[in-house]
Each structure stands twice: as C-alpha cells, then as structure tokens.
Chain length 292, copies 2
Amino acid sequence: MEQSFETILARDRALIEDRLAELFRQDTRYACVQEAMEYSLLAGGKRVRPVLTLEACRMCGGRVEDALPFACGVEMIHTYSLIHDDLPAMDDDELRRGRPTNHVVYGEATAILAGDGLLTAAFGQLTKAELPPERIVSAVATLSAAAGPSGMVGGQALDMAGEGHALSRGELELLQSLKTGALISAAAQLGGIAAGATREQLKQLDRYAQALGLAFQVRDDMLDVISSDQELGKPVGSDRANEKSTFVNALGLENCAQLVEKLSQQAADALAEFEQPEFLAWLAHALADRKQ
Amino acid sequence: MEQSFETILARDRALIEDRLAELFRQDTRYACVQEAMEYSLLAGGKRVRPVLTLEACRMCGGRVEDALPFACGVEMIHTYSLIHDDLPAMDDDELRRGRPTNHVVYGEATAILAGDGLLTAAFGQLTKAELPPERIVSAVATLSAAAGPSGMVGGQALDMAGEGHALSRGELELLQSLKTGALISAAAQLGGIAAGATREQLKQLDRYAQALGLAFQVRDDMLDVISSDQELGKPVGSDRANEKSTFVNALGLENCAQLVEKLSQQAADALAEFEQPEFLAWLAHALADRKQ
C-alpha cells in the first residue's frame, strides 16, 4: 500500500514538473527574468502544495489533469514567496534547496522582478484550466485571499516584525497559519474547487490542510535543529542565526514531536467523510516523518 | 463641452478614490503592510488607467459601476509597480508624487511586501465584479498577461538592462510598449470586457490605448526636461541622473511634441466605429497636453 502511495506521489510530481517546465518556454525576449524565474521554479522541491491540489481534486471526484493549472498556479505563488523572503532586505538567505538563492545568482533587481513575474503569471495560469468559469473565479478569489495581505504577505510582515522577540506558542501558531497555513489550505481547496466540491467538503479540506500545515511547520523547526546541512539543503541553525522564534524554542523538541504526531492524525481525521481519503491521510503522516 | 468632460473625469476619479479607500479598511491585524499599501495607493495620482477602464466600459454600452472592481485592480497593479520600481535595487528613487517613496517611509522589507500585497490583492479585486464569470476570467487572463513577464515585468527588466546604453527609437518603443503600454491597454480592454465588448471592439480599444500610452510616455520624457520639480512632484532631470534613454534624447524636444500630437490623433481615430467616443478621444488629447 505504502508502495502505491509513493507511486501516486511520483506520478503527480512528474505531471507538475513537466507542466512547470513548459510554462515560460515561449518567451525568449526577456531572457534574464525568464531564466531567474525558472531557476527557482524548477529547483526541485517537494511540490507538497501542487500535489495537495491534484489529490484533493481526485478525492472530490475530479480528474487530476483538470486541476493541473491550479496546482501550477499555487506552486508559482509559493516559489515567488521564497524568492522575495530570501532577499537581503528580508531574511537575507544565501542558500535554498542546496543552491545559491535567486538574488545571489541574478542580483537583487532581477530577483524582485522574477518574484513579481511568477506572482503575476500565477493568476494567469489559473485561467488556463478547462473548467467552468465560475470555478476559475472561485480559485482566483481563494488564492488571492490566501496569498495576500490578510494571508501569506501579512504573515511574512508579522514574521519580520517578530524577529528578535520570543513569540508565545499562540503567536507562533497565528504567524504560521498566515505565513504558510493559508497557502497550504488554498492548495487543497483549489483541488476541491476544480472538482466542484461542496462548501462542506471545502471546509473539511481546510481543516485537513490547516492541521497538516501546522504539523509541517513544527517539523520544519525541528529539522532546523536536528538535521544536517546536507540533508536540509540549507544551513541548519538558520532560525537561530536569524533570531526567529520557533516551536522548538517555545515547546522543546520532545513536545514538538508529540504535537506533529497529533496534528497529522487530526489532519487524517478531518477527511473521514470522503470516500477515498487514503492518499491524503498517508501524505499527512509522511510529511510529519520527513527528514528534509 | 470641455467643461462636461472635466466633470465626467472628476466624477470617475471620485468613484475610484472612494472605492480604493475602502479596500483594506477591514484588515487591522497587519497594520504596517496595510498602512504602506494605502500610503501609495491613496497618494493621488492621475488615475489614468482606472478612468480608462470605466469609460471604455461606458463607451461599449456597460455601466460604469460594474467596471469599478476591474478599474481598482488595474490601479493596484500600477501602484505596486511604482513601489517596486522605486526600490534601491531598482531605480532607487526617493520622491514620487511629491512625497517620499514607500521604502523611504516604511523601509525596504515592508515596501516589497506592500507591493506584493497590492499585486496579489488586485486579482482578488477583479473577482468582486458583479459580472458573468466568463468576463471575470477574461479580465484575470488579460491583466496577468499585460502585467507579467511578457508585459510590464519584462519591460522593467529591459529597462534595467538598458540603463547606461543609448537606445534607438525602435528599442525605446518596444520598451515603452511593454513597460507602460501593456497595462494601459489592459486597462482599456478590461472596461470593454466588463461591458461584454466584441473581439473587434477590444482590438480597437487596444489600438487606442497603445497610441495613447506611447503619447503619454513621450510626454513624460518631455516633462522630465521642461517641467519644474514642483509641477512634476519628483525631481526633473531624474531620467538623465539614472542614465535612462528617453525619447527626448532619441528625437529631440520638437520632434517629440509633433509625435505626441500625431499619436493622440491616432488614438482618437482608433475609436471611429464607436457610437460615443468623445470622452476617450478628448482624454487622449488632454493627456498629450498635460503639464505634470
């Protein structure tokens, strides 16, 4: 069974990689921005968010292929946020996924533009879906709300404001729910929207994704302490270097491990009313156990 | 007649100002980004693009109010582009519309986030239109294409790459058509889309807006030479200081004046098949004669 989940995951990722690699192929006039966008977009990564989109669509009775433009749009938003977060004026990170960050390679101006380009093109990508137009409108509204000032952008602002202060667990959870949870939830919901899910199903997907997103972040904070640079693809201990509050600081490693366990079970439980929740339930546990 | 055009323009601008001022009123949790977004969004400005959206909608038989969310979305994109273009890593400008630029007031990190927030929220704003969903999808696709890597973002990249080189008239026209023309054309087309314009009408709106956009840019370059700081709201001569190629360098002031005249007539002529093209034809001439 585990085997077949891995197979599904690999197939989804291949679909996503192929589509992402095609996106900017026709534009050759603006080579420097295009190259910078592709540098970060095609840097590997776990593709957690677009996989969520595809598999939430399948779980809600839709065809995976129909959700592919939504999945790519979500990953483009995620990628732009990494490029901008790494900028010298923001987190000033020089290594990401084992490679120099975008601005280190292309310079700050091009990195800003590459982020802007991916963010702008993401919404155009949603409109490529061959789906009823009201579903596309709903996807645009959902993604904009999740990624915008009341979601991810607001979370990054809170994160910057919180540097150097010790945040409480509650403050960390609010920060996480905005900075990473909102987009992860949007990823799952866009899959549901592609499949024509009911409002109730979208709520269940949101509950699943919020628990999974929080588990993911807590695990991330743990890996920043217990992993090696090589496994992680970025320097371990960077949270401490950036004076970031983390769940490990707030709770300790052992409590974090228990919390991750509990949250991934909550995520799986949120899917109880779907007919075929097995893959997404497995994914929640697999992400909670991940090594990188 | 002139009087009544001014009245229409003032009424449109008031509609736009009111709506823009309401946009972020409900979000108080992320005060610093919200304040930074409003600082630039509500800084006055000519509101050329959203006026184009409203009046193109009216000219195509639609109701101005129906196009208001599209108009605001376009202005949000324009505002984000100004914030990011002014950043130290880009044009490094400290004055805009007579006030310190966003990053001078709020710092670089918040200015980047304010731009990202406006860009992201712009697409959400389009979905607020009470219009058939296929028109909203078309608006999202049009705005994304115009503002993205094959449009405005690509133009800004070309602009950065061209600094310090003398560009030919042809290169300048390509640069302008991407950097400012694409969004001006999208502004007009979104008005048409809101009204359910035909494909042929959208083409005419594009021809109108491309000519108007080029006239606007040539006039802009002229004003950078012949205006005073106070009239312009930013330092005159900044193009020279930034080693930007301009139409004035390429053609000389007198030829520029003739070109602006010719282009604004071309813009007006492109509207010949509409029943009530008077306002937009007047607007093209009014912008060509502007002092700031």
